[in-house]
Each structure stands twice: as C-alpha cells, then as structure tokens.
Amino acid sequence: MEKLALAAGTALCLAITGFVIVTASADPVDDTLEIDGAEMITRAPAPEGHPFDEVLSGWLFREAETRATQEDSFENPGMLAVERGAEIWETVEGTAGQSCASCHEDASVTMADVGSTYPKWDADSGKPINVEGQINKCRVENMGAEPYAFDAEPQLSLTAFIKHQSLGKPVAIDLSEGEMQEWWEKGKEFYYTRTGQLDFSCSSCHEASMGKYIRADHLSQGQVNGFPTYRFNTGGMVSLHNRFRGCIRDTRAEMPAAFSDELMALETYVTWRGTGLSVETPAVRQ
C-alpha cells in the first residue's frame, strides 16, 4: 500500500513536470488558415459523445513552413494532383464512351457536397462507400471501365479533385442512413483496439497523447478532413487508407487491406470525429 502511494505520488510529480514541458512547446498553434481568401474551420465544437470538447485540424499541429505551403494554392504541391484529377474528370474511358463529366458535368456544382458528406451508406453493397469506392462503382457500372487499383495515381488524383470541390465545407456525415450507425460502432471499437507488438491503438497516440511529441512528430487528433494529403516525407499524395495502413504497420501489426470492412468502419468513425472541420483536401503535412 505504501509502495502504491509512493508510485502514485511519483506519477503525480511526473505528470506535473510533463505538463510544464507540454504547455511550453506542444500546443496546437493559434493561427487562422485561409486558402484563396476563404477561411477554413480548423477548430470546431465536438459533436455529442466525442472524447474532446473541440476538434482540431492537423494543420494546427504542423510547422510554420508546412502550414504556409497549404495556405498558398500555387505553392501546394497537392494542387498538381487536383489539376490532374480535373483532366481525368473530362477524359472518356471504357466501353460506354463516357467521362465523369458526361453525366456529372460541372464538378464544382455536382460534387460540391461530396467531400464533406462521404462516406455514405451504399445499399447495393450493404456497406459504407467512400469516394474511391464510388469512383470505382461508376467506372464499372456506368462507364464500362476497369476499377482503379488501390492507390493507383488516377485514383489519388481524381479523389483529390472531387474532394477539393468541397474545400472549406464542414464535415457532416449522415449516420442515420442504412446501417451507418452500426459501422460507426464497429469503427469506434477498432479505434480503441490495440494492435501489434507495440500494442498501440489509434487512441494511444491521437487521443491519450494528442499534442505531445513522439520523437520529432507532433501528435495531432488524427483528423482525416485533408485527405488525400500531400506529404513532404514521401514527396507525394497519400490516401486515407494508405495512412491508416501505415499507422497500423507502425504498431508492428499486419495491415488490414485497403477498403476492407475494418478500414471502412474506421473511416466512418474517424470522419465523424472531425465533424465541423472544413474539408482541406489537398492538405499539406510533414
């Protein structure tokens, strides 16, 4: 018992010491993100049932140079993928002789709410579907074209282009459709499940340690409102499921397949965790 009290006392001292270090160097910045004159919502009151009071964009956790790159669309290398996506939008492919634009016309009008409201319930498959999945569904069912392989360059570019049409719009997914609520529950369970030899869950870093540093890496809330993102460390676009898999790999676990039920449930849950944040696609991260 005495030992326990000693341990608790020590832990308290350590916690206080830790707190001083954290507040000195690890808070998200107090800054405003404006892209092409439009102010992004990088802080929003959390939805009911959320572990945080406020949801915070990952942009607030990045270094000044990274933040500045995202603020300027001419500097943001992710905009090259968006431009490439715009070309794909107009390109006829498949046996039906159609492009995306053949049916959906002006993406700035028809896709304006897609980035902020996906994933959505897909009654045909009985699962949530994300933008990548919807693109492939259209390609196969309507265009007579091959579906894109996971992380194929056109998949990344077209997804970035479509989500970019919602730039600035607050994330708001509809959990009342179909079985979205059940998938949200499954995603939540996975979020808190520890994986791998290192025994970390998503929450170990992005909830319990949010705002702290793992080596040089400033831990954010792990929000997904900027995907696909441009990452400096790989010098290219990174999809959400690539990032999910990378995080899980880093726990020294086997990676679930992209677009698997586990990761679609996780996408549903984690997207909800960013409710109210502006879509930032293509965000710029380290």
């Binding site: 341990a7 020590t10 830790g18 994986t195 030899q197 970390f200 870093c205 319990a208 340690s209 793992i214």
Partner: protein, 156 residues
C-alpha cells in the same frame, strides 16, 4: 563409413544443444517473469546489464526507441526527445533497479492497463501482430538488463 563421419557431427550437435540449454536456463522466459510488489527482484539473465549498451538500445529507433517518448538531458547528442512519457532525468532517484526492470518489462502491470508504454519483455501484445514477430519480445532479456543498467545511472 557414414557412421564414422556422423559421430563427430552428432557430438557437435549435442555440445551445441547443451550450451543452448544452459543459456536458456539462465534466461527467464517472458511467461515466467514474476512481478511482485511493483518490482522484478531477479535479473532476467545471468550476465549483468551493460549501461553503455543500454544507452544505445535506449536511443535506437529499431530497438528500445525510448527517446521517442522520454527525454534524457544526458543524451544531448541525440535530437528530438519525445514527451509522451515523463523525462527520465533522475529516474534512478525515484525507482530502484528492481522497479525499473518491472516498468521496462511490462509497464501496464505497474501503472495501469491504460498506459501507452509498450511492454518490452512480454508476449501479451495487441491483435494481429506482424507474423514474423509472433512469439518475439520487443527487447531481448539482455537488452532489458542493459537498459535497466543504463536507467540506474540517471541520477540527479
């Protein structure tokens, strides 16, 4: 002829097996580690921990990678000390070697199930561990002893 050749080979195999058995007899398997009163009283190996080797294991990103979460002023040549866990300056004034050993082996049994700190000498880890790591601990018994020896030098 064959049996004449096989004899020395067999003898060598026996000697090697005997040496391996002796080594494992001196090393406590992960499942046999006993944590009592927030401490592990006996070293996990027969050979004493090497503090210099422990400092390397502590900083190495592929081994302990302890610096990812804990800052140590003495390791000033290493960049980017993390702060997920407390700084470890003076940690040996707060815990003795037996307690430090228990924390490194399985912090969840010392602090709480909620702690983020991995168990460095345990097979009780998360779901779907990487296939090539199944049955393996993050650190070897000797590496744990080395890290404990290093931590024991961190006094203020």
């Amino acid at each position: 002829m064959l049996s004449e050749l096989a004899k020395p080979l067999m003898a060598a195999v026996f000697v090697f097996a005997a040496m391996a058995a002796q080594a494992s007899a001196q090393e406590v398997a992960p499942a046999d580690v006993k944590i009592a009163d927030y401490a592990i009283s006996d070293p996990l190996t027969g050979s004493a921990g090497d503090a210099a080797a422990g400092a390397k294991t502590f900083a190495d990103r592929g081994l302990g990678n302890c610096l990812a979460c804990h800052a140590v002023s003495a390791l000033e040549t290493e960049q980017f000390h993390g702060n997920v866990g407390p700084a470890l300056d003076g940690v040996a004034d707060r815990w003795n070697a037996e307690e430090l050993r228990a924390i490194v082996v399985d912090a969840k049994q010392i602090f709480s199930e909620e702690t983020v700190m991995p168990a460095f000498y345990s097979l009780d880890y998360g779901i779907t561990p990487r296939k090539d790591l199944v049955g393996k601990t993050i650190l070897t018994a000797q590496q744990v002893e080395d890290v404990v020896a290093y931590l024991a030098t961190l006094k203020e």
